[in-house]
């Protein structure tokens, strides 16, 4: 990359249910992200949004509904389905093309209006083979967790520790939907939804209007004293049928390798200061940490036991509380990025980590047992 893209402003809405309508929620977050750097809709170059029809209140062609709420009236804009980090990357591409000097990335999902997540993700399954069996994300994750426990001797307690850590971290996050101080016993003693998964190890269904404003290097420096730079991105998709895949060696390895290569990162354990990871199921934080190279293969259990990934550890993971605390399905990847940016800028409030954060990783995943992953690296310097 010869040119740089800067993140100049971020905004997010609260995860708890709001009786405000979708349209007005989206408008307010757009206003906020623009006003933080003192620009108006007229100054905006392009807009890329992320949303999915299945998570969109029964209204089809999602971006038809909210087009003007993102400031897009008579502007050149586009939309990504499924994963909001897709939209982030597409907006980066639009700036790198030289055609736009600012780009708004916006993820829109109002969980309180939608059916249960499992009802929605059942619709990912093909109608012939997998849907009649009842495959959805929670069942897929339970199967993946069973394999994970058995292949590497990870314990259920170690998985529950992730929920203890993240729901505890969420106490410092005013946007978090679910939070609390729990013990491992309470996590494991919560309702068994799909054994070995218990209710407190499964993410809730949250609201999530999340916005990120990007700018070309020159424009970024003009808009803020604290630009955070785009460093790298990678994504990858796995085969469709669950039985065709090795659920413990998924496409996150490829996605991470691509992002690290672009960012020039040779040793992620040393060079990544903080990670915000999409872990809709507690154990996945451990598995994804392995795939991201933040610990060795099969060492996820040891990583959480070491305490290194706590908010005050040397490799904080999900100091925001992660997706276990806040799960606006489509928006969660971009929300991870917003949290990473806030930490780098030292603006994370009570959830700010005590160490210096120069380079941070944001991760998004969607699909059965992580069929698709996206990784973004951002940093200063």
């Amino acid at each position: 990359m010869t040119k740089r893209v800067g993140i100049v402003s971020v905004a997010q809405g609260a995860g708890a249910e709001s009786k405000d309508n979708f349209y007005d929620q989206a408008y307010r977050i757009t206003k906020e992200v623009l006003e933080k750097v003192g620009i108006t809709r007229d100054d905006l170059g392009t807009i890329v949004t992320a949303s999915s029809d299945i998570f969109h209140g029964g209204i089809s062609c999602a971006n038809s509904y909210y087009w003007e709420t993102t400031g897009a009236f008579l502007k050149n804009a586009s939309r990504q389905d499924g994963e909001s980090l897709f939209a982030f990357f597409y907006a980066v591409m639009r700036i790198l093309s030289g055609q736009f000097d600012t780009a708004l990335v916006m993820a829109l999902c109002k969980g309180s209006e939608n059916p249960p997540n499992d009802t929605c993700t059942l619709m990912f399954a093909d109608p012939f083979y997998q849907r009649p069996v009842g495959l959805q994300e929670t069942l897929a994750a339970a199967l993946q967790m069973r394999l994970y426990l058995e292949r590497y001797g990870i314990t259920e307690e170690q998985c529950a520790e992730v929920a203890v850590k993240n729901l505890g971290n969420a106490l410092g996050n005013p946007y978090a939907h679910r939070k609390g101080r729990y013990t491992v016993e309470e996590i494991l003693g919560s309702e068994r939804l799909a054994d070995p998964l218990t209710a407190l190890q499964v993410a809730p269904k949250s609201e999530g209007m999340v916005a990120v404003l990007l700018a070309s290097e020159e424009k970024a420096r003009a808009l803020t004293d604290k630009p955070v730079w785009f460093k790298g991105y990678g994504s990858s998709l796995d085969h469709f049928y669950l039985g065709d895949r090795d659920l413990l060696k998924g496409p996150l390895r490829d996605a991470a390798a691509r992002a690290y290569r672009m960012a020039g990162i040779a040793d992620p354990q040393k060079e990544i200061d903080l990670a915000e990871i999409t872990e809709p199921y507690a154990f996945q934080e451990l598995l994804w940490c392995e795939d991201l190279g933040l610990c060795g293969e099969g060492e996820g259990g040891k990583l959480i036991a070491s305490g290194r990934t706590r908010r005050n550890g040397d490799l904080p993971v999900n100091p925001s509380g992660g997706v276990l605390a806040n799960n606006p399905y489509v928006s969660r990847g971009l929300q991870r990025l917003v949290e990473a940016v806030l930490q780098i800028r030292g603006e994370a409030g009570e959830r700010q980590v005590p160490k210096e954060v120069k380079t941070a990783l944001a991760h998004g995943t969607h699909g059965f047992a992580g069929q698709c992953h996206a990784v973004a690296i951002v940093g200063i310097g």
């Binding site: 709001s18 009786k19 405000d20 309508n21 979708f22 349209y23 007005d24 929620q25 408008y27 757009t30 206003k31 108006t40 809709r41 209140g57 029964g58 003007e68 709420t69 400031g71 009236f73 109002k110 309180s112 209006e113 939608n114 059916p115 009802t119 929605c120 619709m123 109608p127 012939f128």
Partner: protein, 153 residues
């Protein structure tokens, strides 16, 4: 002859619960009282109906509520004469854009109060530019169909 392959008949139903929020709640409360409200954009001065919390073009909050006229001018129409699964309105009907007097956008609703069975007759009566007014239901519940249709004046 080519072999016929099977198809799977299936149906999907999903429940959603949508929030009105404060602005739309107020608009529909008005309908229950036989009143139509718009909101005014301070910047461009346009009166938007149905009421909006912000102006899509100026991107500023609308602050002023305005009760708008219940009559206006037909700006476009289509006589709908086909049906499909899940159709919310029984055909034949006339979908119509109506510029309510004193407002700055078109309001979408139905044209009625005329015999809809003979299209050639309809075409003789319904013309862009004609004046129309709202016909309300006796029983109202704060719903867009509390107005039965707009009829020619």
């Amino acid at each position: 002859m080519a072999k016929e392959y099977k198809t799977l008949m299936t149906e999907i139903r999903l429940p959603y619960e949508l929030s009105y929020g404060p602005v739309w709640t107020r608009f529909f409360e008005g309908m229950a009282e036989k009143k139509l409200y718009g909101t005014k954009c301070e910047k461009c001065g346009r009166i938007l109906v149905p009421a909006r919390s912000f102006c899509p073009r100026c991107f500023v909050d609308t602050t002023e509520w305005v009760e708008v006229a219940q009559q206006g001018t037909l700006t476009a129409w289509s006589y709908v004469n086909y049906r499909y699964f899940g159709m919310p309105t029984e055909p034949p009907f006339i979908g119509a854009l109506i510029r309510l007097d004193g407002t700055d956008v078109d309001f979408l609703h139905l044209m009625g109060g005329i015999d809809l069975n003979d299209f050639e007759q309809v075409r003789k009566v319904v013309k862009n530019g004609m004046k129309v007014r709202a016909v309300w239901k006796e029983e109202r519940q704060g719903h867009i169909l509390d107005i039965r249709y707009f009829e020619p004046i």
